[in-house]
């Protein structure tokens, strides 16, 4: 029998759904909370905020991270800011406007109920972070400062220089550290989750590998929260940290959790272009730069080799301002990325390989002075110069789109619970709030919303109603999961082939970027679906991992993650192939307007594609959750 999906979106008027739901959620008596253990995997914004908030409520929490400390999670790298519908600028913002912008920005592929809740709690997040001592930017009068971000015409983005993610993560980390000190959170660093344990169909535990000792351990609890981030590293080159991986969510998927919309990945428009084959990652330049920087390419292809300063003003094409006059340089990310690609496809790209466009601060330096520009973006300019050896105060930056964020993730209902009872998924790891395209400054918002203000309410509903017996970790399900994990590690170590894990990762990444990246088409996707199983086959026959499983072994860690990417990539391509429309971060070349804009097919594709693992990677089962729009009516997204 096929799985029936219930999103559990509360009935009633949109603005009252969350309030009503909070009241209807069952509560766990304060004295009983300490009898429950929650396993939180991943301690970035979503995981650390959840661990802290659940422990404050009285639950016992175990938190796990593959890094040595919760302060290292990749949330820390978010630069530009966090949105909140505070309307401090008196410029017409409201909860409803943030909701509307997010639904529209997501190309009408997100749930109204979830997105409205996100907009509602956005204001609480800012209050919470300020109370924690997060040093947001302020005006001389002492009030909080705001900046603009893509996809919005109001200033609702709060920031801490170019290090907003860092400050918010350190806030969540400090809240969690307080609970570690109080003994209510046990933190397990350098500990990688390798499986979920199901007992009686409920998620009741996890299997981890201690990366230092190599020890395989099982952990039993009453519920599991995965907050393990996104899968952008399937492309090898992305703005993600080196350790970001799909393993936790993929293993959960193979235990029955549905994977939602895996083809939705965000390609961020303002990254430093590639410089060579040696490159291990791509570096993002905050979208906030588009507030003052102007994006352009030469009008004529024959000018691309000239120095930027030798191209006269009238020979420059400020194409975003030209094509999208009302949003200009602040169009959403998917639009800006595709426009850059179009310019480069026309032969007007600049820099090595013609894969770059200019982001020019010449006018801003003239208008504001170098000091003001330095105050706003100094750390980003320094980073750019370190990487490229060019001074952006004097010559325009060169930028090109790069893989940045995963909108897809494990399917969850309104309670952030997957279809596997007890298995909750938070932050970037779930699919829920951004539809087909995420607006800038919304990832931090969602991660913290899930952890601080959603899961503390909704997990009680599960714990109070699940009716499950206590588990100890001695059940056969735990032993079997641990044995399977051990066998898999032994297999990786025993292949004795010639190729390194990284070489397979690079090969896969290139294939994914070529055919499942900024633009996709049927032919390319079919090619990938043929090639990926072949690469996987070679991986399991020709992998070279030295050393043993009982010590700190970086090649073994990497091999396990690459093995999962090699399976996940196939599902991504299958999802991209089946979605015969263009929407947000998913651009199918066959479905575009004369002007090269994405063409959605609302009649046939207004649904969440949730994929069920059937035991055969080549034949996953597609389950559709229809998206119902009661409040806004999907229209062609226009930023002109």
């Amino acid at each position: 029998m096929s799985i029936q999906l219930d999103s559990k979106i509360p009935s009633g008027p949109l603005a009252q759904k969350w309030e009503k739901h909070k009241f209807e959620c069952k509560l766990v008596n304060p004295a009983n909370k300490r009898k429950y253990t929650v396993l939180v995997v991943g301690t970035g914004l979503a995981g650390a905020s959840a661990a802290a908030s659940l422990a404050e409520l009285g639950y016992n929490v175990h938190a796990f991270a593959f890094q040595d400390s919760a302060r290292r999670a990749h949330s820390i790298a978010a630069q530009g800011g966090i949105n909140a519908a505070k309307n401090y600028q008196n410029d017409g913002d409201s909860v409803y406007r943030l909701f509307y912008d997010t639904i529209k920005g997501g190309d009408y592929r997100a749930r109204e109920g979830n997105v409205h809740r996100l907009a509602e709690v956005s204001v609480n997040i800012i209050d919470q972070c300020v109370a924690q001592g997060v040093p947001f930017a302020r005006e001389y009068g002492g009030t909080l400062a705001n900046r603009s971000f893509g996809g919005a015409q109001v200033s609702r983005t709060f920031y801490a220089r170019g290090q907003t993610g860092q400050q918010l993560l350190l806030g969540a980390y400090s809240a969690m550290s307080r609970q570690v000190g109080l003994g209510t959170v046990k933190f397990h660093g350098r500990s990688e989750m390798l499986d979920v344990v199901l007992v009686n169909g409920h998620a009741r535990g996890i299997v981890t590998r201690d990366l230092v000792s190599g020890k395989i351990e099982t952990w039993a609890g009453d519920a599991v929260c995965l907050a393990t981030g996104g899968y952008g590293n399937v492309f090898f080159l992305s703005t993600n940290a080196q350790g970001c991986n799909v393993t936790a969510t993929w293993r959960a998927h193979k235990r029955g959790a549905l994977f939602g919309n895996p083809c939705y990945t965000q390609i961020h428009p303002t990254c430093i272009p590639r410089s060579g084959d040696h490159q291990s990652k791509l570096t993002l330049m905050s979208e906030s730069l588009r507030n003052d920087g102007r994006v352009w390419v030469p009008k004529r292809a024959e000018d691309v080799a000239k120095k930027a300063s030798d191209i006269a003003e009238e020979d420059r094409d400020y194409y975003l301002e030209r094509i999208y006059p009302s949003f200009g340089n602040l169009v959403p990310r998917d639009i800006a990325s595709r426009a850059a690609k179009r310019m480069c496809d026309e032969g007007r790209g600049v820099g090595p390989g013609g894969l770059g466009v200019y982001l020019d601060f010449g006018a801003a330096v003239k208008r504001l002075g170098k000091a003001t520009v330095a105050e706003r973006y100094g750390n980003l300019f320094d980073m750019y110069q370190r990487i490229t050896d060019e001074n952006p105060y004097e010559v325009p930056m060169r930028i090109y789109p790069a893989v940045h964020y995963a909108m897809g993730g494990l399917w969850v209902d309104y309670n952030l619970m997957s279809n596997v009872p007890g298995l909750h998924v938070l932050g970037e790891a779930n699919f829920s709030d951004h539809g087909a395209n995420r607006l800038g400054a919304s990832a931090l918002m969602q991660g913290l919303a899930d952890g601080y203000f959603v899961i503390p309410y909704t997990i009680g509903q599960y714990l109070a109603t699940s009716g499950q017996k206590k588990v100890t970790g001695d059940e056969p399900e735990f032993k079997q999961a641990a044995a399977e994990t051990k066998a898999r590690i032994d297999k990786l170590l025993s292949i004795g082939g010639k190729r390194s894990p990284t070489s397979f990762h690079k090969e896969l990444g290139l294939l994914m970027w070529e055919n499942c990246g900024m633009a996709r088409n049927r032919e390319g996707l079919l090619h990938n679906l043929e090639r990926i199983p072949q690469i996987r086959e070679e991986f399991w026959n020709n992998l070279n991992v030295l050393g043993d499983g009982d010590s700190y072994n970086i090649a073994l860690e990497k091999a396990g993650r690459v093995a999962d990417f090699l399976e996940f990539a196939e599902l991504m391509c299958r999802d991209a192939l089946h979605r015969e429309e263009s929407c947000g971060g998913h651009f199918r070349e066959e479905y575009q307007s004369e002007a090269g804009e994405a063409e959605r097919d609302d009649e046939n594709f207004t649904y969440v594609a949730a994929w069920n693992y059937t035991g055969d990677l080549a034949a996953p089962e597609l389950i559709k959750e229809p998206l119902i729009f009661e409040e806004v009516h999907p229209t062609t997204r226009s930023y002109k």
Partner: protein
């Protein structure tokens, strides 16, 4: 910031690397010598090590373990003492942001882990910095639960104070300050956290308790005291000023003499 001698489009560098290898905390370690060639000056230092690791794997030698993650200078995971300097020769630059244009063809580069007793070696260049987490758990927070907080604009904070707080809050917890200090003092790290909160109204209620508790843990972990050589400030990739140590000392003294009540 700009490199010396080499343009970014230059040919490859040939280098000799002397790298600390150590199987685990219990085994003795030593420097091993490796050659790399054709290194592009556009590469980052860690990408150069990636290439060496691929070569080692091919030759049947286990790759060199080093900590790294974001590779954009913010997670604080990367470390390495390069030619005696924590995070290498460039100021205000983490190892992951150091680029090979900073080196010359034929250079001999020595690469070692952070060396401090409270940071035991896990393997090769990877050290255990969990002591920082334990210090943090003693007081590196404002004791406020989720929910029930006042409106974010309810308490105005002077821009100057907010900026001073942010200057301190930039600490990435990498531990270079400890590696640079002859006493293995972590007072720049602790001072940065103390300073972040003491410039904010939210940090006031626990101001004196915080500094005592965090310093107590600092000492218990085996970090040494500050003797004002300011090597930490020079090594800090986020340019945290020793001002934060002075501020912390002032509060520590006040708390010791007068007590922790405000």
């Amino acid at each position: 910031m700009s490199g010396h001698g080499h343009s970014s489009s230059g040919g490859g560098l040939n280098l000799t690397l002397k790298v600390w290898r150590q199987k685990d905390a219990a085994s003795p370690g030593g420097l091993a010598s490796y050659q790399v060639s054709g290194i592009s000056t556009d590469m980052s230092f860690l990408e150069m090590l990636d290439i060496l690791n691929e070569q080692l794997l091919e030759k049947g030698e286990e790759p060199i373990a080093f900590d790294h993650d974001c590779r954009e200078g913010i997670c604080g995971m990367c470390s390495l003492v390069i030619n005696g300097n924590p995070h290498g020769p460039d100021s205000a630059t983490t190892t992951c942001q150091l680029h090979m244009r900073r080196f010359k063809d034929g250079d001999i580069i020595t690469i070692e882990p952070w060396r401090a007793k409270p940071f035991p070696v896990i393997r090769d260049l990877v050290v255990d910095r969990s002591a920082f987490d334990r210090i943090q758990a003693r007081g590196g927070f404002v004791s406020v639960n989720t929910g029930g907080t006042p409106d974010a604009n309810a308490i105005p904070i002077a821009k100057r104070e907010a900026d001073l707080s942010m200057d301190a809050a930039q600490c990435i917890g990498c531990g270079a300050c400890v590696a640079a200090c002859k006493n293995a003092s972590a007072m720049l790290f602790v001072g940065a956290k103390v300073s972040q909160y003491l410039h904010l109204p939210q940090g006031q209620p626990e101001r004196y308790r915080r500094v005592l508790a965090m310093m107590e843990q600092h000492d218990a972990e085996g970090f040494g005291g500050c003797t004002n050589f300011q090597e930490c400030e020079a090594a800090c990739p986020k340019e945290i000023s020793v001002r934060v140590i002075a501020e912390m000392n002032r509060d520590f003294l006040r708390a010791t003499l007068v007590g922790t009540e405000l």
